[in-house]
């Protein structure tokens, strides 16, 4: 079955089995390994990508079901070799330890900031409640998203 997607702005057309998940399509067919293979039951959020502007867990999404849509992965958030605002804020706040949850966290935070450019701390925690981190205790992640919001709205 043919799968056609626009991923990080580039159109792709590939043959794939009909039951391939979006996660497998991104990682194993396109070689975009930034999106992580975590729990495979939608609980951990490590495989979060954007379909359109909305975050989904790509382990539960069949590639076939998002035929023709625009998909953004963590690789798509950098621009011309420069980190995006959310990525840069994660670096400057030390918001990663092992780093496995980080791509999903960053993509989920990006989705939040596109909808709500100046979220409260509570809104950030709610928006990231589907992304598990077993290292940081979340505080630095919340700090990073607050800083990214300030950078995006020019209030830093």
């Amino acid at each position: 079955m043919r799968v056609e997607l626009v991923v990080n702005g580039d159109p792709y057309r590939r043959e794939a089995e009909p039951d391939v998940t979006l996660l497998s399509f991104l990682r194993d067919v396109l070689g975009l390994t930034g999106t992580k293979w975590g729990c495979m039951t939608g609980d951990c959020g490590a495989c979060t990508v954007l379909v359109g502007k909305e975050p989904v867990v790509s382990c539960l999404q069949l590639a076939q079901q998002v035929q023709g849509r625009e998909v953004t992965t963590v690789e798509g958030l950098e621009r011309d070799g420069e980190l995006g605002d959310v990525q840069a804020a994660f670096v400057s706040n030390g918001a990663a330890q092992c780093g496995f949850c980080t791509p999903g966290m960053i993509v989920a935070a990006q989705a939040l900031l596109q909808r709500n450019p100046s979220p409260t701390e509570a809104e950030i925690r709610e928006a990231l409640s589907g992304n598990l981190c077993r290292c940081t205790g979340y505080n630095k992640i919340v700090d990073a998203v607050l800083e990214a919001a300030q950078a995006l709205t020019g209030t830093a």
Binding site: M1, A16, W37, M40, P55, V56, V57, Q61, L62, N131
Partner: protein, 317 residues
């Protein structure tokens, strides 16, 4: 995770996918493959059940291209939501926040943003989980589901859809196509509250929905819906009748709570004991009735959700 699935391109645990071009195609395929084909929409239950071996269909039938299942129409007091309406769409709908607050409150605590973006209202109903968030909220809005199957179309009250944990009364090949609910614009209010151990990414230990309609200072109509305290989501009619004709004093609301607690049949499991759940019902029902009353009488800011445990800041003072 064990080696149950590998990083191979083809996820070995998944069945084949059939992508119908029309509703009739989908119904025909499901009827021809009764027992071996499962419909899939958002996939947030079906994919997990399949991976974990709880179900093992030979076919998944993808409903997501069936445009007729995504419509949304309002006709007077009746709102019709297509089965593919996502939980996130319900959560963010400002008209629903004013006229079906219980539904929005149930939607906003379901899973995570990612899960709500994918999960559909039809899937949440047809999975028939006793603790699902949407059924109690829909029940208090007098929801009726529309179906289409090999024998044609039919409508049934939502309470008649559920047959038991994970089981519905749908026939082989029959699909839920839409749910219609009553959403009065004035002098009416509803509310959904729940008890959980974790506030995110957890199923309800107890879910309680209420809806009231008020004339002057008297309740003229009431509904109380319960989740996670019986094999199926419940409408508890006797408890609701207990507040009709009253001014919903604290005593009236408490009587409804006690009546609802007596009417349910919870089990003891990881999310709580049967005794605890019964007590939570007795506590949450009066709170949900109070918020519904405040909404119906214009004493609650439009579109603002209630705290999920129903405790108002004035209670702490």
């Amino acid at each position: 995770m064990s080696g149950r699935w590998s990083a191979a391109t083809r996820d070995p645990a998944l069945p084949d996918l059939f992508v119908p071009e029309s509703l009739d195609d989908a119904i025909g395929f499901l009827a021809d493959h009764a027992g071996s084909a499962t419909p899939i929409a958002g996939g947030t239950d079906v994919m997990i059940d399949t991976r974990l071996g709880r179900v093992s269909p030979e076919w998944l039938v993808d409903l997501t291209r069936l445009g007729s299942l995504v419509d949304r129409q309002i006709d007077g007091e009746v709102l019709r939501l297509g089965a593919l309406t996502t939980i996130r769409t319900v959560e963010l709908d400002p008209q629903l926040a004013r006229r079906a607050a219980a539904l929005v409150e149930a939607a906003r605590v379901l899973g995570s943003v990612q899960i709500r973006t994918m999960a559909t209202i039809g899937g949440n109903l047809c999975h028939a989980t006793p603790s699902a968030e949407m059924p109690p909220a829909l029940l208090v809005h007098d929801a009726v589901v529309q179906t289409a199957g090999p024998g044609g179309e039919r409508s049934l009250p939502l309470s008649e859809l559920f047959a038991g944990p994970g089981r519905t009364t749908l026939e082989p090949g029959e699909l839920l196509t839409a749910v219609s609910l009553r959403v009065p614009a004035v002098a009416a209010g509803s509310c959904y509250l729940r008890q959980t151990v974790r506030w995110s990414m957890d199923l309800a230990g107890v879910g309680v929905a209420a809806a009231v309609e008020v004339a002057g200072t008297t309740v003229t109509r009431a509904r109380i819906g319960l989740g996670a305290v019986a094999p199926v989501p419940l409408l508890v009619g006797e408890a609701a009748e207990a507040v009709v004709g009253t001014t919903l004093s604290a005593e009236d609301a408490a009587r409804a709570g006690a009546c609802a607690a007596a009417a349910c049949s919870p089990i003891t499991d990881a999310r709580g004991t049967a005794e605890y759940r019964r007590q939570v019902v007795a506590v949450l029902v009066p709170r949900a009735l109070r918020v519904s009353w405040l909404r119906a009488t214009g004493s609650w800011p439009a579109g603002v959700p209630a705290p999920i445990n129903g405790v108002l800041s004035r209670d702490a003072a």
